[in-house]
Amino acid sequence: MTLAGWIFMIGSIAVVVSLLVFCYYNVLCAPDKADHMHGRFDVDTPDLEKKHI
């Protein structure tokens, strides 16, 4: 195995693994869509509360 062979092999694997890790990190660690949704009782409506008072 020549030096150039090592460079091509390790370089190719490094490129692919880096891309894979970047993609799966972002896919798996991204906040789930459900995290952005709020139930109706989570929604704070202070103006309405004041009106009732």
Binding site: M1, T2, A4, G5, W6, I7, F8, M9, G11, S12, I13, V15, V16, V17, L19, L20, C23, Y24, N26, V27, L28, A30, K33
Partner: protein, 527 residues
């Protein structure tokens, strides 16, 4: 059931990523890629390979994901429906027929190859594969075993008055495919891929560790080491007539091989990604998901396929044994390698079982576009469309098995549909996305719900670079391959019958599309 009422969706994001990457990962990743690298400049091959990945593979992939989700959220899941909606012109529906024809015809022969993998895996598991006691005859015996297993010695489905064993294996695999596809996108394809992809990775990693720890297994050949095996594949090599490996980068054959490998490996131009993406919800990400599915495919190809096959063949058989085509390397050479390898039966089973999983995740993806098409165009339910497709593909598959002598039918279908038409469809898809749908609209659509933005250069690449690149490669490829296949056709025989089967399938799909056009006009906005 109208297309608009079809509410099938993927159950999870990781599920669709694994399903798309499962569709892309196939025999080519493990068997074709290493051979292409070793024969086309070694490590130098990776430069045009990654350039093609960036300029062709990823942009077309993003275009397919975007168009698929756009049309899917409007009730269209098949290529004719998607093409009609995206273009706004009914004529494109008929072009979209190619996007149904390709997966159907490829399935007809791919399921046959898939059954060989399962048959080999079972042979290793049961210990019934034997290449004799004479190591010098292993190669010949392996060839004989392959011919006997696939029935390539003569045409027909019977041997010695009995149905050939390959037919039973094919029937079993055929039934498994349709059992899974009948359960739908989420419960069938997604559930299976969530199981199959990790198991496939595990099998590949176990075989990889075994290969990389082989050392120098034969003291008679001290130069046949794992390191030299890796060097045989990865050392950059000059083309014939040159001493400088950089000259490989000026060789058109190297660029053609690298681009072809990326193109076929990522499953772009098959009509599959468009269909799978159509089951996404309107605000599901397509940019990062598309990139993740492509990078998963690359991992299997470069990091696993690139380190297993050639080094394993080299340490036992030397340089001459490490070169071969997809079938030669996979079904003739590797069984010889497993004969020499300590624990060969176990690793042989793992290897062929892994190939079977790689193949079945791909073959499943070939059925879904056609099922969606039949459901949409004929307004029938899943059961009817599965039955209709089952009969159609069974006929085509039995045709391939009947004309098994020299694998002529299989080779003819692979050339005209699995290669030629894929180039055509990919080019048409790029034109549709960049020039008809429009890059501005396309980018806006891709960014809906996207977790990362497309590169700024994407519109320029998909509009100019990708089509020119594709057409250039297509012209060179036609110049190299087309004359031989046209010559074969003029000779008549099995090759001509095979083209007849492809033509008849195409005609049938055109009729169904015409019928679907009436339904689509009545139920949706005019397209």
């Amino acid at each position: 059931m109208s297309a608009a009422n079809n509410t099938e969706h993927w159950a999870s994001r990781i599920g669709v990523i694994l399903a798309v990457s499962g569709s892309a990962v196939g025999l080519g990743n493990f068997l074709r890629f290493p051979g292409q690298v070793a024969q086309n400049g070694g490590g130098a091959f990776m430069i045009p390979y990654f350039i093609a990945f960036l300029l062709l593979g990823i942009p077309i992939c993003w275009a397919e994901w975007t168009m698929g989700r756009y049309a899917g959220s409007r009730g269209y899941h098949s290529a004719p429906g998607v093409f009609g909606l995206v273009s706004g012109r009914p004529a494109w529906r008929y072009i979209g027929v190619i996007g149904v024809l390709i997966p159907i015809v490829i399935y007809m022969y791919y399921v046959v190859i898939e059954s060989w993998c399962l048959s080999y895996a079972f042979s290793y598991l049961s210990g019934s594969i034997s290449l004799g006691a004479d190591p010098s005859a292993y190669g010949t015996e392996s060839g004989k075993f392959f011919t006997a297993t696939v029935g390539a010695a003569e045409n027909g489905l019977a041997s010695h008055g009995r149905v050939h064993a390959s037919v039973w294996w094919w029937a079993a695999v055929f039934v498994i495919n349709f059992f899974l596809i009948y359960h739908g996108v989420a419960k069938g394809i997604e559930t299976f891929c969530k199981f199959a992809m990790p198991v496939m990775s595990l099998c590949a990693i176990i075989v990889l560790v075994r290969v990389l720890t082989l050392g120098t297994p034969n003291p008679e050949f001290p130069e046949r080491t794992v390191l030299n095996g890796l060097g045989f594949m990865w050392n950059p090599k000059p083309p014939k007539g040159s001493d400088d490996w950089m000259a490989a980068l000026t060789n058109a054959d190297v660029w053609l091989a690298a681009t072809g490998q990326i193109f076929f490996s990522l499953s772009v131009g098959f009509g599959i990604i468009i269909n799978y993406a159509s089951y996404l919800r309107k605000d599901d990400d397509v940019v990062l998901s598309g990139l993740t599915a492509s990078s998963t495919n690359e991992f299997f190809e470069v990091c696993l396929g690139g380190l297993i096959t050639i080094p394993a063949a080299f340490v036992f058989l030397g340089a001459s044994g490490a070169i071969g085509g997809t079938f030669g390397l996979g079904f003739n050479t590797l069984p010889v390698v497993f004969m020499y390898m300590p624990g060969g039966e176990f690793f042989g089973f793992l290897w062929f079982f892994m190939l079977f999983l790689a193949a079945i995740t791909s073959s499943l993806s070939m059925l879904q576009p056609a099922i969606a098409f039949l459901e949409e165009a004929l307004g029938v339910g899943r059961k009817t469309s599965v039955l209709f497709l089952g009969l159609l593909t069974m006929f085509g598959s039995l045709f391939v098995m009947y004309y098994s002598e020299g694998l002529v039918a299989l080779d003819t279908m692979d050339f005209w549909v699995g290669t030629f038409l894929i180039f055509i469809l990919a080019t048409l898809q790029v034109i549709l996305f960049a020039w008809v749908f429009g890059t501005d609209k396309g980018v806006r659509e891709a960014h809906e719900g996207a977790q990362m933005r497309l590169p700024r250069v994407f519109p320029f690449v998909i509009k100019y670079i990708s089509p020119i690149y594709l057409l250039t490669i297509f012209v060179f490829w036609c110049r190299e391959k087309l004359p031989d296949y046209i010559q074969t056709l003029t000779g008549g025989g099995v090759a001509l019958y095979t083209v007849g089967v492809i033509g008849a399938t195409f005609a049938l799909l055109v009729v169904v599309t015409a019928r679907g056009g009436n339904r689509w006009r009545a139920e949706h906005e005019p397209i």
